[in-house]
């Protein structure tokens, strides 16, 4: 007797449920949808169409969905049809998930990928791919795959033909079954024998009874893009106090009578969530709803200058009575805000940087401050009690340190009755200078990177990791998700700064929320919080990019040439309101597509040909320097680089359709050798790469010197250029610009930048910088009331020097008659700042000397 579970009409049916210990069969013909299936990895765009289960997204990646059953031993059969070839690789594919526990623990068989049949096994951080056959999958042809699991053995059959058997482990262990693909494909008649139902989800365990109330609500409208006049997208924040005796876990929300799920399905909300996930008794946390737009009626009211009616919000927490509140969603709903929270090395110090862009007469008067719902006013030092257009720091020293990686909520109330708050995961603030790696043709690449004053590397191989450890470099890994975290976040590895999740806004935000939630939940079971998650956004300033801001810890975007988008008016401070720092209100680490070039090659003659159309030259040293300090003026708190090394040879590379070499940073072992993959790279190209690469080293020395103070700072509109000669840049606009980074209660870093540059950023012009004449500039700094300047000095890689300044009331005036590119001027009331910076610079100068004297070492095969 057989028990057959059938998915017909989208309902799991048991035809003969009374026969125990017999073979059980799960069948899904997808005639009535794909009920019970769960997308677990990659893009969400699986759908049932005309009795087939179809994945259509043309982009690349591994896409996985699992059925609502699991198996220990049994057979999976499915009919599959590749629908298109991979745009990146030129092959078509489909696949089957044999066992799935989570995205870091699974076994899958893929057919056609890389023109083979292979078994993928992910076991935590370990990943193995083993070929079991060959297949050039034909688009449009239907295949039948059968996979038999017995003990730890897997036998694979394609159209009835057996492929090589393989040991997969997992003997006696259940795993969910499913489908996967790396290219568009459709599936039908998915049948599994030996299945068993999923274990019932364990409900969230709550001890005690939470009692929640909304302290206050605030609407954070998205910054207006150039051309936009009224914000319609934004984030509604509700600061929730839990005065009960059990943790508050958010179960659901309603907005104007509609459920959160319904609103997400309709696109009104992108998501909603609560930080931290459990608000402990006595704490305040934050619930945020991400609004993707407003109704047409609301829009017409806004366009008529009227305020739309307040939104009614209901929050439902597990085991708690629902709470209701009203919130104004208008464009002017946030007169006071916390721009940024920073955290000291031991997580006992928190600094909140406040600003009121459009303040009332006399500004807002700060009354009290809380951290996680506890009044810490007596433990806080206020730069000023009054907050208006300039940034004001508030420094809080806690009795107990915050928990590394757990959300911390800071709220501030004012005498005017207005409150504001912010909520970020707590990590010690720091200024990383990171580089990713391409392939290496140098033995000494990590040492070279160290000599160029970097702090962190995204390694590719184990030997990189051991060399990083030897040299004290941190790890900022490229890639994300549970598997990557398990791979790199290990005690034997260098300290992990962050994970770099790349270009996630190319897909809907839910495709990123899912793996992040999985990783958070996996480690929370161990009582741990995962390291920082940095997301590189292709369009950080759009509504889509903005929807990622509250789910990431660090925001990133590409700057430079060759496809990077610096954005309108870079680096004018007038663009600060809509750029990454202000849009995200969290650290911004730009990445530079900087010192690189792609060259076409002729594999037959081994000749190097012309550069790619968009890399006609290597970015010049002065342009790299100007770009770096432009980003610092706009509030960058770290710099990443993509990437060190080389790619290609006899194959195509990014920027080129045909065979080519992509050479980047110090990847060519010049001047020891100009030979890369058997090609002689022109001397001029090698010189250009080395010139910019070494300038990056010198810039990094300066960044390392001031880094800790920049990491703990916020740009404030208290510095300006009062005079410059010429008054206008050669291509129009101001010839110089000054930015003030307020750092804690004792220091301001003024960055003056020469904008008198005539250049282009597309990479299509081989000429590069056409002119960059020095500027004679006068800079004025309006001293914050909390700083009594004891020391004023400038920093560059050559050394630290006194700077003359004229006092004019509460203003310091600096004359910079020969502003070549940038001047970094530190104004501080703490006499120890200079000595601490000097100590850091001395260490960097030692590295720069090693950079100058070091002879590159090519690998044996070069």
């Amino acid at each position: 007797m057989r028990i057959r579970w059938l998915i017909l009409s989208g309902i799991l049916g048991i035809l003969a449920p009374s026969a125990p210990a017999q073979e059980q069969v799960y069948v899904d013909d997808f005639e009535q949808g794909a009920e019970g299936w769960t997308v677990v990895h990659g893009a969400s765009r699986w759908k049932a169409v005309d009795g087939r289960y179809v994945f259509e997204e043309p982009g690349w990646g591994r896409h996985m969905t699992v059925a609502p059953v699991r198996m220990i031993e049994g057979t999976i059969t499915v009919r599959a049809t590749p629908l298109a070839e991979s745009q990146a690789h030129g092959w078509a594919s489909f696949g089957v998930i044999v066992k799935y526990a989570d995205s870091a623990h699974l076994v899958a068989v893929r057919f056609g990928a890389y023109n083979g049949v292979s078994v993928i096994r992910w076991d935590g951080g370990d990943r193995a791919i083993e070929g079991v056959g060959r297949l050039d999958a034909e688009v449009g042809r239907e295949y039948e795959a059968r996979l038999e699991v017995e003990g730890d053995q897997l036998r694979t059959f394609l159209d009835g033909e057996p492929l090589a058997p393989i040991t997969i482990g997992w003997a006696g262990e259940p795993g969910r079954v499913g489908l996967c693909t790396e290219t568009p494909a459709s599936f039908d008649d998915f049948t599994v024998t030996g299945v068993e139902p999923l274990a019932a989800d364990r409900p969230e365990q709550i001890e005690g009874t939470p009692r929640t109330s909304v302290e206050f609500a605030s609407f954070q409208p998205d910054p207006l893009l150039p051309g936009e006049v009224i914000p319609v997208r934004g984030q509604l924040h509700l600061f929730v106090r839990n005065s009960g005796d059990g943790p508050a876990v958010l179960e659901g929300v309603e907005l104007d009578g509609r459920s959160g799920e319904e609103l997400v399905a309709d696109g009104v909300l992108a998501w909603y969530h609560q930080h931290p996930q459990r608000i402990r008794p006595g704490e305040v946390g934050r619930v945020t709803l991400r609004l993707g737009g407003v109704s047409e009626e609301q829009a017409l009211m806004l366009m008529a200058g009227a305020e739309p009616p307040a939104a009614r919000v209901v929050l439902r927490h597990l085991k708690a009575d629902p709470v209701q509140c009203e919130a104004t969603l208008g464009p002017d709903a946030e007169p006071l805000r916390i721009n940024m929270l920073t955290f000291g090395p031991d997580l006992r110090t928190v600094r909140a940087y406040l600003q009121a862009p459009d303040p009332p007469e006399g500004g807002f008067v700060l009354e009290a401050v809380e951290v996680n719902g506890r009044d810490v006013t007596d433990r806080a030092r206020f730069g000023s009690r009054r907050v208006a257009g300039a940034v004001v720091p508030v420094e809080i020293t806690l009795e107990e340190p915050l928990t590394w990686g757990r959300h911390a909520t800071v709220t501030v109330s004012t005498e005017q009755g207005l409150s504001c708050g912010h909520c970020l995961r707590a990590f010690p603030s720091e200024f990383p200078i990171q580089v990713c790696l391409f392939e290496q043709v140098r033995e000494d690449s990590i040492e070279d990177i160290h000599n160029h004053c970097f702090t962190a590397v995204a390694p590719r191989r184990d030997e990189h990791v051991s060399e990083m450890k030897r040299l004290g470099l941190d790890l900022l890994a490229f890639g994300g998700g549970l598997g990557r975290i398990m791979q790199w976040w290990q005690p034997e590895n260098p300290r992990v700064i962050a994970f770099w999740l790349d270009e996630r806004d190319e897909r809907p935000v839910e495709d990123t929320i899912r793996p992040l939630n999985e990783a958070h939940e996996y480690y929370l079971q161990e009582g741990r919080y995962i390291p920082r998650q940095m997301i590189n956004l292709v369009g950080p300033w759009t509504g889509t990019g903005m929807a990622f801001m509250d789910i990431l810890d660090v925001v990133c975007h590409a700057y430079g040439m060759g496809g990077a988008i610096n954005g309108a008016d870079f680096p004018l401070l007038s663009s600060l309101p809509w750029r990454e720092l202000r849009a995200g209100r969290r650290p911004w680490w730009p990445y530079f597509r900087s010192a690189e070039i792609a060259l076409a090659v002729d594999p037959g003659s081994r000749e190097v040909l012309q550069p790619a159309p968009t890399t006609q030259r290597v970015i010049e040293p002065a342009q790299e320097r100007m770009m770096t300090y432009g980003c610092l003026q706009l509030g960058a708190k770290g710099i990443c680089h993509w990437a060190y090394g080389i790619q290609g040879g006899d194959r195509s590379v990014y920027y080129l359709d045909g065979p080519g070499l992509r050479l980047s940073m110090g990847g060519v072992p010049y001047p020891t050798s100009r030979t890369v993959r058997g090609y002689e790279v022109p001397e001029g190209v090698c010189r250009a790469l080395k010139a910019t690469w070494d300038e990056i080293g010198r810039i990094n020395a300066e960044l390392q010197t001031i880094g800790p103070w920049v990491a703990d700072s916020d740009p404030s509109p208290i510095a300006r250029v009062t005079r410059s000669q010429p008054p206008e840049a050669v291509t129009g606009g101001p010839a110089a610009q000054a930015s003030a980074l307020v750092s804690g209660l004792d220091t301001v870093i003024v960055i003056a930048l020469n904008l008198n540059i005539d250049t282009e950023w597309s990479g299509r012009d081989p000429e590069g910088i056409r002119s960059y004449e020095p500027v004679d500039a006068t800079i004025e700094l309006r001293l914050p009331e909390w700083i009594d300047p004891a020391d004023t000095f400038s920093v560059d890689w050559r050394g630290i020097e006194d700077v003359e300044a004229t006092h004019d009331g509460d203003r310091l005036v600096f004359e910079l008659p020969e502003l070549a590119i940038q001047r970094v001027i530190v104004v501080t009331g703490d006499p120890e700042v200079r000595s601490r910076m000097a100590e850091r610079l001395q260490e960097m100068q030692e590295r720069l000397r090693a950079m100058e004297s070091h002879q590159p070492v090519p690998t044996d095969e070069e």
């Binding site: 006049v229 319609v232 407003v294 047409e296 017409l300 366009m303």
Partner: protein, 195 residues
């Protein structure tokens, strides 16, 4: 592929309500006489106005025969395929205002995976991108633009996703239909206010 613009009287329902003139076009009788194909291959097929050329990554649009200063235009659009030339993808949109070949703006949905306002004019060539969006070929989408007080509101399925400055605030322009792939348009509704 033939370019075919039907020169038959439009089956337009015109009414006046609350000071607004409402024009509805369903194309059920094969009539698109009030539309001018500025670019692309446009024809009435099976009760809808269809743009059939996806041979290159070009803008294709057809504009209505009367102008709009304040009011709105909305349509049900069905992209029929992803234009893989230049990676445009599935695409549809609305011409907000067409003054002449050198001065126009259009709300576009889906092109290159995003929503944007495209602006062409003296010193005003540009694009404001406000979010990711990848339409599914074969699926219907209802989109609308509203012109009011020098502003343009852009709406998808009743949700206004951006309010932008009208690049030609005082100039009337012809509204229209826009796409960069094969696309079907139906149930156009134009409201003209105070004209």
């Amino acid at each position: 592929m033939t370019r075919r613009v039907m020169m038959v009287l439009a089956a337009a329902a015109v009414c006046a309500a609350a000071g607004a003139e409402v024009i509805e076009q369903s194309f059920d009788d094969g009539d698109a006489a009030r539309w001018e194909a500025v670019s692309g291959e446009w024809a009435v097929e099976d009760g809808a106005f269809v743009q059939t050329d996806a041979s290159s990554p070009d803008y294709r649009f057809a504009v209505f025969d009367s102008q709009l200063t304040e009011g709105s235009i909305e349509v049900t659009a069905t992209p029929l395929e992803r234009n893989r030339n230049g990676n445009v993808g599935a695409s549809f949109g609305l011409v907000v205002k067409y003054l002449d070949d050198g001065r126009w703006c259009a709300a576009r949905f889906g092109s290159y995976g995003s929503c944007s306002l495209l602006i062409r004019g003296p010193g005003a060539k540009g694009r404001v991108t406000f979010g990711h969006f990848e339409p599914e070929p074969g699926q219907d989408y209802r989109v609308r633009v509203i012109l009011r007080d020098g502003m343009i509101a852009i709406s998808r399925e009743g949700l206004v996703i951006a309010i932008l400055e009208d690049p030609f605030p005082d100039a009337p322009g012809r509204p229209g239909l826009f796409t960069e792939t094969r696309c079907r348009f139906d149930d156009v509704r134009i409201e003209r206010e105070g004209e």
